[in-house]
């Protein structure tokens, strides 16, 4: 049985100039522990779709099932990482940010600090446990956000372009780190990006979306051995294929 099923999901935005379809008739499913990337040009509704899966937006049509159950709102079975560094609570240290979900679960202080410390070690931030977010670099803040989303042990990790605002070098490093974290935690991941190389590096399967309204154009499995070499011929072939699907212009380049 798939872990997450998305069935014919649509969302229509009400704007002052009339109703605008954000996503339309989107269907696909995700297996347990699968790493799925959603790729599409900006404005294709991929973030909207992720927000629906997260439960922040209600679809106007269709349904989403996680573990067979229809979702009706956000829940602790999903962890979410946003693009914006400001998602961390500035008044809490890295450790206290990570313990937040555990605190809400009512876990004792000693226990939750132990778990949070493990999570911070997983993202290689155990030296910065007592730092406040504003003393951390963008990449470090995103790593705290990943640790925070994993700490209360959700089965699904939803990521909305988490590395898009980082410089290229840091982004590469973060992708390697995320691949390691995923291998160790075996979470089901839905990862939204507009970066084709990022999708080929991380994903088991890539869902390509078309804009206005956002629909699924195609699905491409990436069957490359991990860790992947971004300079290998196969890697570049996959990248080209994805670019072709994203549009003639981009494919020629």
């Amino acid at each position: 049985m798939p872990h997450i099923e998305i069935r014919d999901v649509s969302l229509i935005y009400d704007t002052p100039s009339g109703s605008v379809p954000g996503v339309q008739g989107v269907s696909f499913s995700i297996e347990p522990s699968e790493f799925l990337c959603i790729v599409g040009p900006s404005g294709c509704g991929k973030s909207t779709l992720l927000n629906i899966i997260a439960g922040f937006l209600m679809p106007t049509g269709g349904e989403i099932r996680i573990g067979g159950k229809i979702i009706t709102g956000h829940g602790m079975d999903r962890g979410v990482v946003f693009q914006d560094f400001a998602q961390l609570f500035p008044w809490r240290t890295a450790l206290a940010n990570v313990t937040f979900g555990l605190e809400m679960k009512g876990i004792s202080k000693a226990e939750r600090e132990k778990i949070a410390l493990e999570q911070l070690r997983l993202v290689k931030l155990d030296k910065f446990v007592r730092s406040y977010p504003h003393h951390l670099s963008g990449g470090m803040q995103q790593r705290v956000a990943i640790a925070r989303a994993l700490a209360y042990n959700p089965s699904v990790l939803l990521m909305d372009e988490p590395f898009a605002a980082l410089d290229a070098l840091t982004r590469d490093e973060m992708q390697r780190l995320l691949a390691d974290v995923w291998r160790e935690t075996k979470k089901t991941v839905i990862y939204v990006t507009h970066n084709v190389a990022e999708a080929v590096y991380l994903a088991d399967r890539v869902v390509v979306m078309t804009p206005h309204p956002g629909t699924v154009k195609t699905e491409i499995p990436i069957r490359l051995a991990r860790p992947r070499d971004p300079l290998s011929v196969e890697f570049l072939e996959h990248q080209k294929e994805l670019l072709r699907h994203l549009g003639g212009e981009a494919g020629k380049a």
Partner: protein, 263 residues
């Protein structure tokens, strides 16, 4: 280290300003153009202040005034902080209270003194209520703005992590709005000090810095008036710098939610 030298430098600059103003005042007082009874020299004011400190009367007046300020200010926080948060969270609460606040806010707190005297008589109740009235609106409006400026990502993140209304309130909204809340407290405290002295002039009897100033006028005791003004300024300054300054450094500055001015 550098923060310390920076602070020393700012104290030195403040001292220079005070010295220049004091020197100009002293020169005018000694110039012979003004009656000494109206413009006493600084040593005269200093002697009066010292005498009043020694016999305990100044401390008594200051304590009375301080008590009224803290009572009214505390009351304002207890009322305006939750109300401001509710206004920022719920449209119906905002819809009901915002017009009320907009209508009452421009009315100077001192304009209520005669009304309150009729309702509550002379004394503490009236003075405290005037202080409360003056302090409430800055607290209310800043809290309301603060809640509306809380980053929606924090609410979403907290929601996914299972925060209920209660946790959302105490662990996300209040700290998230804290830069505004602290500004609100600062402004409220300032308004409270301004209001208390005015209210005491009219509504208090026998004790309070405002009352001393007003009473001294009857006997042309300009030195007492100016000594009391100095005490008012001093207490306000100490509170502003020490209490709110350290509160800010310990919270929102430490969290990087506001920065210290560069120069």
């Amino acid at each position: 280290m550098s923060a310390n030298t920076e602070r020393m430098r700012s104290y030195r600059r403040a001292a220079v300003t005070l010295l220049v103003v004091a020197a100009l005042y002293e020169a005018s007082a000694r110039s012979g153009y003004f009656a000494p009874a109206l413009l006493p020299t600084l040593p005269t004011i200093g002697r009066t202040l010292f005498a009043m400190l020694l016999d305990g009367s100044m401390l008594g007046h200051a304590l009375y005034t301080f008590y009224r300020v803290m009572f009214g200010f505390g009351l304002a926080i207890v009322v305006a902080l939750p109300l401001g948060i509710l206004m920022g969270r719920f449209r119906t609460v905002e819809g009901f209270f915002l017009p009320l606040a907009s209508a009452l806010m421009p009315v100077p707190s001192l304009a209520w003194v005669p009304v309150f005297i009729l309702w509550f008589g002379l004394g503490n109740t009236t003075t405290v209520l005037v202080v409360f009235y003056a302090a409430t609106f800055p607290m209310l409006l800043n809290t309301w703005s603060g809640v509306r400026s809380v980053n929606p990502l924090w609410l979403r993140a907290a929601g996914t992590m299972g925060a209920d209304e209660n946790a959302m309130f105490w662990k996300v909204i209040i700290p998230g709005a804290s830069p505004f809340i602290i500004t609100g407290m600062r402004q409220a405290f300032l308004r409270a000090w301004i209001a208390v002295v005015g209210a005491e002039m009219i509504a208090a009897s026998n004790w309070g810095l405002g009352w001393v100033i007003f009473d001294a006028k009857e006997f042309l005791n300009t030195d007492i008036m100016l000594a009391s003004l100095a005490v008012i300024g001093f207490i306000g300054f100490v509170f502003e710098r020490l209490v709110f300054g350290s509160l800010e450094r310990a919270t929102i500055q430490r969290w990087g939610m506001v920065r210290a001015a560069k120069s």
